[in-house]
Amino acid sequence: MKLRSIRIRNYRKLARPTVISGLTDGVNVIAGCNEAGKSTVLSAMQAALFQRHNAPKRVVEAMQPFGSTVRPEIELVFEMEDGSYKLTKSFSAGGGRAELAMPGGRRFADHDADRKLEELFQFQMARNRESKLSELGYWPLFWVEQGTTFQGMNVNPDVRVSIQSALQKEVGDMLVGQGGTRLKQRVGEAYLELWTASTARPRGPHAEALKELARIEAAIAAKRVECTSYDVLVARYEAELNRLQRLRDPAAQQAVENEAAAAEAEYARVQTLEQRQAEASRELQLATAALRESSVALQLRTELVDDALRREHQLVEVRKKLMAAEEALASATAASNRRRLAEAEAALLAKDQAQRIAGSIRLSQADVDLLRQRQGAFATASARLDAASTHIRFELTDAAGVTLNGSELPVENPILIADEAVLYIPGRGSVRISPGGDSLTGRRKEFETAGRLLQQTMEALAVASIEEAEKQLRARLEASLHLTRHSEALLRVAPEGIEQLRALVVPGAVNEVAGDLEQARRVWVALESDLRNAQIEWQRAQEKLSAARAAVIDQDLQAARVTHQAAVDACARVFAEADAACRSANPAAARLRMTQAKAAAVTWRDQLQKAESGHAITLGELKQAGTAGLGEQLANLEADGNTAKEKRDRIAQEAGALRLLYQTILEAERDVNEKFLDPVVARVQPYLNQVLPDSRIHFNNGMVLAGLQRGAVMEPFESLSVGAREQLSVLTRIAFADLLAEQGITAPIILDDALVYSDQDRFKGAMRAIGEAGTRHQILILTCHEKRYQALGYQVVRLEG
């Protein structure tokens, strides 16, 4: 099919008549700026070819220009192998029209025209709605709408089927086909009976069989445990039974009882021996105690005697010491008296002498004081006279021959002159000196009176000077002091009076030892006290001894001890005999034998009783367990287990076979899909070499462009650049067109702004491929980039908006 002209009127934005004519066999470029209506042209062609003439109102309204109810009209002229066709369609909500003029003058109108179109182009028009792409057979492969190329080539299932059938000849019965599809479906259904879809786990009867087997196996395990317990119970029962029979044996039981009795009798005999031995032991102890007592008494008596003797001896000793001390004291006292007497005599002498001195001096303190007063008055009068006298200082260079009052000049300088005086200087004469005033005379008299009084006093006191008076007074005081001191000394040394002392001292030399009288006295006092104590102690010891002897005399004590010793010896012999007898009877062994034999008898009876009751209990348990028939149950379960295992094996085998078969079917299907597209891949390769050299496209299941292989690297379609994606899309469509053309299916390839993302080189490459395809297919390119195509030398038809 090749389009020759398109005439459109009242269709969407193409309200005015639009004509595209002169379309050639090869590449046709239809240019128009954006919004000029390129896509509308494509839409109008689709409406004419695929929409019923009496399309429903809703569909018609979508075709009408905005806000208008005019009839959209489309006229297509196209060529098929048998000649030229002209299709005219007008749509209206009230009923459209269709007319198809065919070669040879045949004409079809309305429904007939639509039916003829369906026949010609192998598709089905929708009845009461817009026809969908998916219903348009292979057409969508050829017509590419604006802005969809880079989305790849997602071929819908119906298109796939039409392509598959178109390719049937080339790939033969490789295809799944109807039989294959049915097989896959049947096996798939059977598979899903036994396996879950997504996780491939056992389900349905398969899972049931596994579960049932597991259930029975668990039951078997549990039952085996029960059976084992039962076996153990039976074994226990048997052991108990054997034991019971042994315990019930009367002879054995009697033997045990006999031994118990014999052991008891033997033990009684041994006990008697033990008692005897214990008695002898007690007697021996008593005798020993008595002996110990008499020994102690004797010992005590000896101690008392010894003590009395020791006390007596001590008393004698102290007495001796005291006599010595008395002698020493007497000697010391005599020596002391003699020394005291000497001291007393000396003191008496000194006292008398002092008394004499003190009696010879009359001068008293009052006398000396008066003398001092007179002396003072005289000195005062002398000073007052001096003060009134003339002072003459000689400062002569030569005093030779100079006299005063006729005498040589006194040594003192200056000289006081109190009376008329004549100074004579040889060769010069004399100087008369008259000391001044009346007071001089008075003072002189005073001075002379004082001198007289002093003199008279001294005479009265019979002293030459005041110093002498003072000296005499001092001597008198000193003698008084001595008197007092010696009187006291005398009293101290001879308090009893010197006469009495003199009487004590025996004249002549005596054997006296001068020593410490006090010390001698202290020793004597102490010894006297010791003597008193010693006497008391001695007396006490004597009393004790006497008292003891009054109770028991010494001889009796000694006799008792001898008697007790004899008793102890006798008891010891008796005990030794009893002890030997007891030992030889071995009481511990006899006791052990009796205890054990009695215990054995008790144990026997006890065990018999226990065994009887244990046996009864076990038998009860056995009865209960035995009723159920555990072995039978286990065997039955095991039989069921075998059946379940068989069933599991059978179903597992079937499930395995189904899984393998189903997998294989799916793999084969994948394989077929790949092989099926091999012709497409082969056909796209020359075009691909123009644009993306050394690369190869891959399809996945369902004819979806999967990716591009460059060298060893496989790039998924989604990760390719937008440009590469649209190029691949366009080239693949051309390949499909080639493939379909070989099967006699032709349709113009319409590309609506399909290569807008390609760079100049790629664009040129793609256009080379398109140009090459143009030698076999009619290609309509709708574009707004007319210059790109003009540059490549294509004739461009302009679509005016």
Partner: protein
């Protein structure tokens, strides 16, 4: 003239656990063992036997249910004939056993438990039964050892009753327990020694016999399903032995080529309903043949009591005709090729499943078309 019915190995309560298959079928086989006892009772009455001697393994195990024990005792009580029951290795007279339980449950008057070595006088004291009960499952000593020293009144017929394997009769002695001397009857001056343990009827000496089990219970049994009617004229005379049929089910072990499955089964003859078949099927089989074989087996499974077919030995060898049917080319051909490749590759994880998968493919694609 004392007359005895000699039987053994009833193994009542046997569950046939190794048999597999349908539980209902196992239940029928199990019930039939008690039915066989009833048939024995009928035969004993019919032949006016003085007693029925059961030479051990009366029960399949000591741990059978009380219900089953009571059912058995009820059956025995129905017949006015003394039954002498001997413990065997399956039901050894342990301290606690099915026998002690019978004593507690109440033993019918006509049932004698031979659980001690004490001789049992029968037939108006003309005949003494010397029992050799197994007191444990496995005795290392000859159970019949005590017979020689068991004194019986002069002129009384001496019949031994024992359970175990007779020496010098099996190519290889399967077990070393409960072995019985093959001259035991002569040694103990027995007029007859009634043995149990072997499930097929077997004559050891003219007066030493295995009666076999009255109801066959295994594939490898010859001459089972019988009881022996023993007539002894007097002490010292040779007994007359008559075999009586008592079995219901016919157990058959077959080894057949898959092509002759049908004919071999048919050859077993009517009535098919009492057949218990263990069949090993061999041969290199095509897909179509296998599908047909499955059909034959399903048909016969419904016809016989039990058909246990072991098809594992079959080798699946798809033929050209199979492949022609499947289609050599195209989609299915591709699948077949893949499965065959797996079948050829012994290392492939799914190797063992490939044959079955192929068979299934055949079933779904060719037969299901």
């Amino acid at each position: 003239m004392p007359r005895l019915l000699h039987t053994a190995d009833w193994q009542i309560g046997k569950q046939y656990k190794g048999l597999g298959g349908d539980p209902d079928c196992r239940s029928d086989l199990r019930n039939e063992r008690l039915n066989a006892v009833r048939r024995l009772g009928e035969l004993a009455v019919k032949h006016e036997a003085d007693a029925v001697l059961v030479a051990g393994d009366v029960f399949d195990m000591n741990e059978v249910s009380d219900r089953l024990v009571r059912q058995t005792l009820n059956t025995l009580a129905e017949f006015r004939v003394p039954w002498v029951l001997l413990p065997g290795n399956h039901d050894a007279a342990l301290a606690e056993s099915v026998w002690t339980r019978i004593e507690r449950l109440g033993c019918p008057a006509n049932v004698r438990l031979a659980i001690t070595r004490e001789a049992i006088l029968l037939a108006e004291d003309r005949l003494a039964v010397l029992p050799a009960p197994l007191l444990r499952r496995h005795e290392s000593a000859d159970p019949t050892e005590g017979f020689a020293s068991t004194v019986t009144p002069p002129g009384v017929i001496r019949v031994g009753l024992a359970h175990g394997s007779v020496r010098n009769r099996l190519p290889v002695e399967a077990e070393s327990h409960n072995l019985i001397s093959d001259t035991a009857a002569a040694t103990a001056q027995l007029d007859y020694l009634a043995l149990g343990d072997w499930h097929g009827t077997f004559q050891v000496t003219p007066n030493t016999w295995y009666s076999g089990t009255p109801e066959p219970d295994g594939f490898q049994q010859q001459h089972s399903g019988q009881a022996l009617l023993v007539e002894i004229d007097a002490a010292g005379s040779t007994p007359r032995i008559q075999k009586l049929q008592t079995g219901t089910y016919r157990w058959r072990r077959l080894k057949v080529d898959f092509r002759s499955v049908e004919s071999e089964l048919a050859a077993q003859g009517e009535p098919f309903g009492n057949l218990v078949i263990g069949m090993r099927v061999e041969g290199a089989i095509s897909l179509r043949e296998r599908a047909e074989l499955d059909e034959v087996i399903h048909r016969w499974e419904a016809r016989v009591k039990l058909l246990r077919a072991n098809l594992a030995p079959l080798t699946s060898v798809p033929t050209d005709a199979d492949f022609d049917e499947l289609g050599r080319q195209g989609f299915v051909g591709n699948i077949v090729e893949r499965l065959r490749a797996i079948q050829r590759d012994a290392q492939h994880p799914d190797h063992a499943l490939a044959g079955a998968a192929l068979q299934r493919l055949y079933a779904e694609h060719v037969l299901g078309r």
